[in-house]
């Protein structure tokens, strides 16, 4: 389903990043990093308009020829980025939203772990499992 899933801290460093074709890992890192530009743009635009009653889902950040990059930002400014292959046309906006919601829930679980130090890279197996599930579904 997704080819790359990333969690990015408030300070914009990666807390978690995983991509499916591992040989393209670097490219995804660049892609996700660049997408932060749009995330920030969207956050500031939304922030002005609606205050705290904002939508966490940021929608399509930007399309490229091969991938679609979707963004989501939690209230604590932790960003989730999901990269989907453009050829995967069966994916609807709603499904992306639900993926983000799932990701957010799992992330919340990670944060609730008293042994997890917020700000550290995520190493939770449960979280990893959720991410794997999202990546494997269609291959």
């Amino acid at each position: 389903m997704a080819v790359c899933i990333a969690v990015i801290a408030k300070e914009n460093y990666p807390l978690y990043i995983r991509s499916v074709p591992t040989q393209n890992e670097l490219k995804f890192h660049y892609t996700v990093h660049t997408s932060l530009d749009v995330v920030e743009e969207k956050i500031s635009a939304v922030g002005k308009a609606l205050g705290d009653q904002r939508e966490l889902y940021l929608g399509l950040l930007y399309p490229t020829e091969d991938y679609k990059v979707y963004g989501y930002v939690t209230n604590s400014k932790v960003k989730f980025v999901i990269v989907v292959d453009s050829s995967n046309t069966s994916l609807r906006d709603n499904e992306i939203r639900s993926m983000f919601r799932k990701l957010h829930n799992s992330f919340t679980d990670v944060m609730c772990n008293p042994f997890h130090n917020p700000g550290d890279p995520i190493q939770s197996k449960a979280f990893d499992g959720i991410v794997s599930g999202m990546m494997v579904q269609t291959g």
């Binding site: 300070e11 460093y13 660049t34 932060l36």
Partner: protein, 1263 residues
């Protein structure tokens, strides 16, 4: 409007709904202008079917002369040519004329309309005043023509006939008539639209529903729905028109997707044809008829269809003033097309799509630039920048494909490819042939030569970068920069490439993206190597060698690069300093001893833990830490400073951001390091102020926005690291650093006392130095100097006087070296001799309390001095030995006060005092020791405790005298007491006969022993006895040799018995026994036993009244226990003659109050001193009165106690007696006798008293 200048090709006139005009053409021509002008002037509300929102619409019309051909034939679905309304014009006012010609013409018109099923018609009758006038006389009422027409044609629809009055006059009536006509026309037009479009839409929907049928063709349907779009466009309903195209777009997309899912439609075959033309979008025409024809013919390729569709959408969006939606949709379209071609597996020449995308991007941008001004464009960069970047990207890949990027230039293969690609572009379109900067020209030029390509590519890249910057998408800008850098690297221009890479790297580092960091750094390393920037290259190599994201092979490669350079034999100027952080991390520093504080000259080890980041082990020629030395201020009072010194932590852990992965170190920022400061006044060390300071303000207060990321160890450029030469260094040569943690031990210099701060760390590998410019948090150790110090303390508490006791001497040598022959000189004192012992050994131990040596001490005693020669001891060691001393219990004898010690000091008499913590009497014994390191003597004090308390008392029996001594053991030790002896010093004739039976006695702790002696004398009993009690004692269970003497001196005065008192109780006369309640006689007989001695005469007062020398005595009978009632006189005065055996009898009446054996009443005898007695000193009279009175009050029994107390300290008791006597006053007073002077024979005698009657009454109280 755009379309006007662009000239639509389909119709020369602008598209307007067609309205046909029949009837009087001349009349219509007359009215045409005002009609065409006024029709669109007011909007009409258009109510729509299917719940679509009503719209206000300005209606226009294209009035054409009615021809039968204009009417649509069956099956013709064209809407654009569809006449929506038919008008018949007439100004006929003549019934005849109407009947003859007009009616006929009208019905013909009606018929032809009916044949074609058109019901949208209207008849307009124009009335003018002239026609009225002309026909005034012979005509029907003026409405009759209209009525006629209505009855003839509009059988049910009266509104289909409208009258226009005086259209050419400027009157209100005319205007009114015009208005109603226009309203009517508009209404009818709208009705016609609704009806006809509704029918059309229904047909179209039906057609669409058939799309699953085999013969269905998308292209046909496309034409139908586009017709509808055209009409909406014609009606200026661009929104609705756009919806039609969007629906077509979605439908097509769905088909392609279905194709991807395996559901193939036949008609899609034509779109799967190989792409032969990639000339990009064409947006300059409102309708691209070429492409439209292609679609109509079913020959269009996918790109053609998409291009046409998008060009239409673009046109409509621009009409709608939404140019930014165009750019967004364009990007989507381009991405989508690429995907669709891939999905449909359409064969495309490599690079053809890149050409198409590139051209299309530029075309869209041109189109947008054409309809927006510069300010608008600048403000909406965010919408266009995507296209710019996309175009840049595509051009780059084209350049790579055509060999335009490599520095060698294109090969022939590349050139062939270029020719093929250019062929697919076709000819330039006529619209842009004349423009200089068309996308077509650009692409052609860019592909023509390496230089042109570079120019165009750079232009595009910079444009994209600047736009990204303008909208502060810095990351995107840097990514473009990086791609530009890659281009420069290919072109062999590493200098420019590095600038872009560094900028990108900075951003990755600051945001902690390790993989991009590694990748970019690798590229930078390549640049730096090419540029020959050795130092930078080595720095980067070091970073890469420690980068866990790289493979071990790569890391080894970079490590080898450093080592190769390092091993090059170059001159000294070639030395390169790199930041230590990239090579190894200082993780921990440990001091041994952990206090990090040693005396000067001592060994202090510093253990560093270095985490080496290199993939292989590295030999380091030298590892050095520079030290900053601070002389300790305010002297070196070793001990005092040592106690106050702030203890440095023995282990310092340095915290590093875990690795290049994880959050960047700038995220958290350094934590506050606070310290307390105290400002003390220099004179008296009192506190002036105190406060808290932050020691690392420079780190915390640093501006975070600009500089913080570059200070992290990941920093890009090497810091200006220089090793400052300090005088003192910690150095280790030849260390092998293994990957991971290494432990390196230094021996720290500790020569001078002071504070040593570790400042920098430097590892040298050949030509390369790795420098840690600041060791932080700061690490310090201290070296102090200490004065020698001698202490003496008891080996066991408490020290008991009179017994040999061990004391421990402890000598802390401090900075002093004890040499052979150095000796301690102890001044001897008589009260505490030092006991020589056979083997006295000294232990020498170092600061860590480890035994270093042991040697025998030689102790030499002379008369005044005991000299202890010390074994040679190194500085800062502890010398311990034990000596046995004996503190002699003072027996109370006086010593000459002017005795001086050998060193000229006045000897301090050990003063005994009672200690609050113990019942034992304490003695402070001072010692004076001369030490070799000082010209002054060391004075030390030991406190001893006397284990015994001794009391004595004088007992009398008539003339016989006994002395009792009580020894009380107040210590916690059991003693054996032996050879108890009492001697009298002055009177040889006196014999003290011991009544003690045992030679040895056990004296347990807290118990007492009493000893008794009878005093025997030959001639006279001296009135004053100087006695010495002596005994030997030793702790219980020790042999005889351990016995130590104990002496107790005391003095007894007025020992002789002067008077004897006898009392007799006489029963009442005639009675044998006394009876209670009956008076008895008490006869007191006082007898002088001795003549007063010479000394006594001076003391005692005498009266010479009758020539006889007498002494006045006072007697007193008192019964303290209320057994007796003294009747009459209870006391009286007697004058005793000064002769021996003079007796005085006194009769006193007493009455027993109880029956039984009653003790005799007490009889006191006191000395009476008349006022004439000589008075030596007139002192405080009041106190004297008090004294006498208090003595009077005291019962006689207490006298013994008083005496014993008085004689305890014999010297003082004598003194106080004298004092008392001197305190005579000019008043008669009483003075008690000393305990031995009066002997009461009847003391404690009892007499039987019978009850008064024989009534035996027993009182029993039962409770």
């Amino acid at each position: 409007m755009e379309c006007q200048e662009e000239k639509p090709i389909i119709y020369t006139m602008e598209n307007k709904p067609i309205v046909t005009c029949a009837g009087d053409q001349a009349l219509f021509t007359l009215l045409y202008t005002s009609l065409a002008q006024q029709l669109p002037r007011e909007p009409m509300e258009w109510r729509r079917t299917y719940g679509r929102a009503p719209k206000m619409i300005h209606l226009e019309a294209n009035f054409v002369q009615f021809k039968e051909e204009l009417l649509p034939k069956d099956g013709n679905k064209a809407l654009l040519t569809f006449p929506f309304l038919h008008i018949y014009w007439t100004d006929c006012c003549d019934t005849e004329a109407y009947k003859t010609s007009v009616k006929e013409d009208m019905s013909r018109w009606q018929n032809s309309l009916r044949v074609h099923g058109s019901a949208d018609w209207v008849i307009i009758v124009v009335e003018t005043n002239d026609t009225k006038k002309k026909n005034k006389t012979n005509i029907l009422p003026r409405s009759s023509i209209v009525d006629k027409i209505r009855s003839d044609f509009c059988n049910k629809q009266n509104d289909r006939c409208v009258v226009l009055s005086d259209p050419l006059k400027d009157s209100s009536r005319s205007q009114e008539s015009w208005n109603s006509l226009l309203l009517k026309l508009r209404t009818l037009l709208l009705m016609s639209f609704t009806k006809n479009l509704g029918r059309f839409e229904d047909d179209m929907r039906t057609l669409r529903e058939k799309r699953t049928q085999p013969g269905w063709s998308f292209c046909e349907y496309f034409m139908v729905q586009e017709e509808l779009a055209f009409v909406f466009e014609m009606l200026q309903q661009f929104e609705d028109a756009l919806v039609q195209y969007d629906e077509l777009d979605a439908l097509f997309t769905q088909y392609v997707l279905n194709f991807g899912a395996g559901d193939t439609a036949n008609w899609l075959g034509s779109f799967c044809a190989p792409v032969r033309c990639w000339n990009g979008l064409l947006l300059r025409r409102p309708i691209d008829m070429e492409k439209r024809d292609g679609i109509q013919r079913g020959e269009a390729s996918l790109l053609d269809l998409r291009s046409y569709l998008f060009s239409r959408q673009c046109t409509l969006l621009i009409f709608l003033q939404r140019p930014w939606e165009v750019t967004q949709r364009a990007l989507e379209l381009l991405h989508n097309c690429v995907q669709e071609l891939r999905l449909l597996e359409v064969s495309v020449l490599e690079g053809a799509l890149d050409c198409w995308v590139f051209l299309s991007c530029l075309e869209v941008l041109h189109r947008i630039e054409g309809c927006c001004d510069q300010a608008q464009l600048a403000a909406n960069c965010s919408h266009t920048v995507g296209l710019w970047a996309y175009a840049t990207d595509k051009l780059k890949s084209l350049g790579e494909l055509c060999g335009l990027v490599s520095d060698k230039g294109p090969t022939s293969e590349d050139l062939n490819r270029t020719v093929d690609l250019l062929a697919g572009l076709g000819d330039e379109r006529p619209e842009t042939v004349n423009s200089l900067q068309s996308p077509y020209k650009k692409l052609k030029e860019a592909l023509s030569s390496v230089e042109a390509f570079e120019r165009h590519y750079l232009e595009l890249s910079h444009a994209a970068m600047e736009m990204y910057r303008a909208i502060s998408r810095m990351r995107s800008a840097r990514l473009v920069g990086k791609s530009l850098a890659e281009f420069y690297m290919r072109k062999g221009d590493p200098e420019r490439a590095e600038a872009f890479l560094q900028e990108a790297l900075k951003s990755y580092v600051s945001e902690g993206w390790s993989l991009p960091v590694t990748h970019t750094r690798k590229q930078i390393a390549e640049c730096q190597k090419l540029l020959g920037r050795t130092e930078d290259y080595l720095q980067t190599s070091a970073l890469l060698a420690g980068d866990v994201n790289l493979t071990t092979e790569e890391r080894k490669h970079f490590c080898q690069e450093i080592l190769t350079f390092a091993s090059k034999s170059g001159d000294q100027s070639q030395k390169v300093s790199l930041s230590m952080g990239v090579f190894a991390q200082l993780t921990r520093l440990q001091f041994c001893p952990a206090t990090a504080s040693v005396h000067s000259g001592a060994v202090l080890k510093v253990e560093l833990t270095l985490r080496c980041l290199m993939p292989v082990s590295v030999r380091i020629q030298q590892l050095a830490a520079s030290i900053h030395f601070d002389l300790e201020h305010g002297g070196t009072h070793g001990r005092l400073k040592g106690a106050q010194r702030q203890t440095n932590p023995g282990t310092v852990d340095f915290i590093h951001s875990s690795s290049s992965a994880g959050p960047p170190s700038s995220a958290g920022g350094p934590s506050l390091e606070l310290d307390e400061i105290q400002d003390r006044s220099p004179s008296d060390n009192s506190l002036n102020s105190t406060g808290v300071v932050c020691k690392n303000t420079h780190l915390i207060m640093r501006r975070h926005d600009s500089s913080s990321p570059s200070d992290t160890p990941n920093c890009v450029s090497p810091l200006a690291v220089t090793m400052k030469e300090e005088a003192q260094m910690l150095k280790v040569q030849d260390v092998m650093l293994e990957p991971g943690n290494n432990s390196i031990v230094f021996t720290a210099p500790s020569g001078q006392p002071g504070t040593y701060t570790l400042r920098q760390l430097c590892a040298t590998v050949g030509q390369v130095q790795f420098v840690l410019p600041h060791i932080y948090p700061s690490v310090q150790y201290e070296v102090y100097s200490q004065e020698p110090q001698l202490t003496v303390e008891p080996l066991s508490e408490p020290l008991l006087a009179g017994l040999p006791q061990m004391v421990k001497f402890t000598l802390l040598t401090g900075h002093y070296t004890v040499k052979k022959g150095d000796a301690l000189q102890l001044s001897n004192t008589d009260s505490m001799p030092i006991l020589p012992s056979a083997s006295c050994s000294a232990r020498i131990s170092n600061t860590a309390a480890e035994l270093v040596g042991e040697s025998v001490l030689s102790i030499q005693s002379s008369e005044k001095v005991t000299s202890i020669s010390l074994p040679s001891t190194p500085p800062y060691h502890t010398l311990e030995f034990q000596l046995e001393v004996l503190c002699i219990i003072p027996s109370g004898s006086e010593r000459p006060a002017n005795e001086r010690l050998t060193n000229g000091e006045v000897r301090h008499r050990p003063r005994s005092y009672s200690h609050p913590d113990t019942p034992m009497t304490a003695i402070d014994q001072r010692m004076s020791i001369d030490c070799p390191w000082s010209i002054y003597s060391t004075l030390l004090a030991l406190t001893f405790y006397i284990p015994f308390k001794t009391k004595h008392s004088l007992l009398s029996a008539g003339n016989r005298k006994y002395i009792q001594v009580c020894v009380q053991n107040v210590s916690d030790v059991n003693f054996t007491l032996a050879e108890v002896k009492l001697t009298e010093k002055q009177h040889a004739s006196l014999e003290l006969q011991s009544l003690n039976t045992k030679t040895q006695q056990l004296l347990c702790s807290k118990h007492s022993v009493f000893c008794l002696w009878e005093v025997r004398w030959k001639d006279d009993l001296p009135s004053c006895l100087q006695c010495v009690f002596s005994a030997n004692f030793s702790p219980f269970n020790q042999d005889v040799s351990a016995f130590k003497p104990f002496h107790y001196q005391f003095q007894l005065e007025r020992v002789t018995t002067l008077y004897s008192v006898r009392a007799e109780i006489l029963p009442p006369p005639g009675e044998q026994y006394c009876r209670s309640g009956f008076l008895c006689g008490l006869e007191v007989c006082i007898t002088r036993l001795t003549e007063p001695a010479e000394g006594e005469t001076g003391e005692d007062s005498k009266t010479d009244t009758d020539g006889l020398r007498t002494t006045k005595l006072m007697y007193e009978v008192a019964d303290s226990s209320s057994n007796w009632a003294v009747c009459g006189k209870s006391s009286g005065m007697v004058s005793m003659p000064m002769t021996s055996n003079a007796t005085h009898k006194v009769q006193i009446e007493v009455m027993p109050l109880f029956a039984g054996h009653l003790p005799f009443p007490k009889i006191k005898v006191l000395k009476y001193l008349p006022h004439t007695a000589p008075v030596a000193i007139q002192s405080d009279p009041d106190s004297c009165v008090e004294d006498t009175l208090s003595l009077l009050d005291k019962p006689l029994d207490d006298q013994g106690d008083t005496a014993s107390i008085r004689s305890r300290g014999s010297v003082h008791s004598v003194g106080s007696n004298e004092q008392q006597q001197q305190k005579g006053v000019a008043m008669p007073r009483l003075e008690p006798f000393s305990p031995g002077q009066v002997f009461n024979h009847s003391h404690a005698r009892q007499v039987l008293v019978l009850p008064a009657t024989d009534d035996h009454i027993m009182e029993v109280n039962a409770t």
